[in-house]
Structure formats: structure tokens, C-alpha cells
Symmetry: C2
Subunit: 199 residues, 2 copies
Amino acid sequence: MTSSPAEPTGLRERKKARTRAAIQRHALRLFHEQGYSATTVDQIAAAAEISPSTFFRYFPTKEATVLYDALDPVLIEAALAQPPELSPIGALRATMDTIREQIPADEWERERQRQMLVFREPELRSAIMEKFAEGIDLLAGLAARRTGRAADDFEVRNWAGAVAGVVMAAFLGAAADPEADTLVAVDEAVAHLDAGLPL
Amino acid sequence: MTSSPAEPTGLRERKKARTRAAIQRHALRLFHEQGYSATTVDQIAAAAEISPSTFFRYFPTKEATVLYDALDPVLIEAALAQPPELSPIGALRATMDTIREQIPADEWERERQRQMLVFREPELRSAIMEKFAEGIDLLAGLAARRTGRAADDFEVRNWAGAVAGVVMAAFLGAAADPEADTLVAVDEAVAHLDAGLPL
DNA sequence: CTATCATTTGATAGTCACTATCAAATGGAG
DNA sequence: CTCCATTTGATAGTGACTATCAAATGATAG
């Protein structure tokens, strides 16, 4: 499976991947050094040694350099792979365990940096919130599949909303506290929800 | 206290209020007629018979003409006024009943139009999502006050996150369905959450 | 190895949201 | 009516993003 023969690995593809990575790396570095809004697309393009036009060929917006989450598809795949006898919440928590084992520490550290940036910069925060709205659809889909109900069922969607909300609160809390471990925070949040949110 | 003598009601103030209302009215009309992104600030300014500079003196951004929610402060006040013996969820539901009685039907209809616009136009949707993040703080504050716990308590914040998420799902669902009554949808959502989200 | 073709790139010019600044107009107060 | 503070409009930016076209570059057939 490693390097299958059909893998598209011409010079062109490799160069594109490198350009893409370079843009993102320099963008994140500049955002970190100067702040998000103080960094212009022209600066990023200059740092990555491409023209501003090319920047927009690789990323639709300046935001997209930060918002693209490489872990997202990994997470979805892991969630789908959980054994069917688990409850929706059980599957969710098992997914997080899987993730914790799969992702190397350094990659996780970079991801965390990105999260802090996104949740603190107001412009980016509103953009990421949209992802939670999408998250509701995603979670509803997963729960529907697991319970044999329709994805647009009121109770299924409402459950998905509650989970998304609880995860949102956990992320918001974790972003404020530099010590916090996001995965642990999310797990605790989901557990508390599962216990019926005792106050 | 009603209409205290110090009430600022000079020509200047009245004119400002009228200008503000005119901008918002024409903005919403144009958004409705041509779509949000196809409408420029210059067009709104022309319709409201002011200069583009003046537009930005009344609203910080184009978004703000739609995002400003006149009902928000009313809602907060109503929530704070609920009897202290109610549970947080109970207080929430009682608040919605109060609102339903207080708001006249035509105003509600306009509010509903606004909601549909905001939740459908992608640019606006991400902006409104930010409001849900703020909503978590707000709800946490209300719950904290009612239970005598700290507003940054983990369980309080997690509860607030779940409520915000469930409301978010209800709004998203109601925006998709032109028949739906948002208040009813939110009430059902909160009730289902209170019942422990049975699936 | 080279000629040809498809893709990628950079340069240019434009639109639109939004900011800063300054002089002219206008309402309020004595 | 006059002087003052506030509000307004005009002008000139900046920065994100789009459209377009010619030049550069990787792939490919002969």
C-alpha cells in the first residue's frame, strides 16, 4: 500500500505539494510573529517566493491557510471505523482514543498552535464557528448510521447539536488556557453530557 | 422612570435614529431583492440618501446591518427577571414564553426574515455563529447566578455549551424550513435536552 | 533530444469593504 | 443672531480578492 504504482508522483505534483506546504508554513509563521490581520497576502506570497496571484490559486482566502484542518478527514475515518455495537457517544469517545494513539506528539503540538491562533483572533473565530455548524450535520450522520434513524430526524439532530455545543465550549475553554489538553477537555465534556449534564 | 425628563429627544437625536433605521431598512430590502453579496455598501448608501462615509459611521461593517439583533437585550432582561426558584432550563423556557407574549407578530415576522437571510447566506452564517460562542458565556452567567456556582465552572460552562448547541441546531433547522416557528423549535430542542437527549 | 501540447505561473487592471482626514454644513445654546 | 460642537461628504488611501492574458515550464510523442 505504501507508494502504490498508481500514486501520482510526477515532478509537477511534488512541486505543487511543496508550494502548498510552503505557503501554509510561512503564513502560520507570519501570523504567529506579526498577528493575523497585520500580515498581508503579499507578505505571505513574498515569503513563499510566489506571486500573489499564485497564492489565490492554492488557497481561496487568507483564512483558508489556517482553517484547513488536516486532521478532519482522519477523524471522520476513525469514527466510521468504530465497532457498530458502541453507542454514538461511546463511538465518539473511542474515536478520540484512536486519534490520541495515531497522531504523533509534534504534529499534535502544531495543531494546538493552530487552534490557539484560530480561537483567539476574532476574525478567524467566526470562520471556525461555521465548522461547528457543519459538525452538526456530520455528527447527525454518524449517529443516524449507528442508531438506524434518519439523519434529519429531530432528536438525532438535536443530539448532534448538543455534542457540537459541548465540544465548542471545550475548545473555547482550552484555547483560553495554555496548559489545557484539548483532547482531554473534549472527552470530559462529552462524558459530562452523557451523564445528563448534572449541575 | 418611563420617559425621564433627561430623555434625549432633540432634533439631532431623532434624525440620527431615523437615518439609522433608514439604512437598515434599505439594506435589508436590497439584500432581499438582489442577495447579500451582490449588494454594495454604495448602493445602500445611495438608497438611504447618505454618503458612503456616513454609512460606516452608523454601522461598523456591512454585516452589522443584518447582525444587529434588537431582541437580544430584551431576551437577556427577560431571563434575568425569571423567579429564582426555577432551574436554569426552566428559566430558559419561561423566558421564551415571556418573549412570545411580548413581541408583536409583525415584529416577529421581520425578525424571522432576518434569520432566514442570515442563516442562508454563507458569509453571514459564519458571522452569526460567533454569536453562539458569546451565547455560551451568557448562558453560563445565567446558570451560575441561578445555581450559585462560578461562571467559569467546568460543568456550568459545559451545560451552557450544550444548550447553545441545541439552540444552534434548532435555528439551523428552522432556517431551512420556511414553515417552522423558531420559538417552538427552540423550546422543543431545550425540552429534549432536559429529558437527557433520548435517541 | 527535440518539437509540441497542456498546465502553471506572473503581471496587470479592476472591484469592493473599510480607514483616515479635512473642510463644509447644520443643530443647539446663550 | 452668533458662536460652538457635532455631523456630514469628499478625497485618497489600503488590502482582499477576481479576471484575463502572455510567458514559462513540465509532460509526452516521435
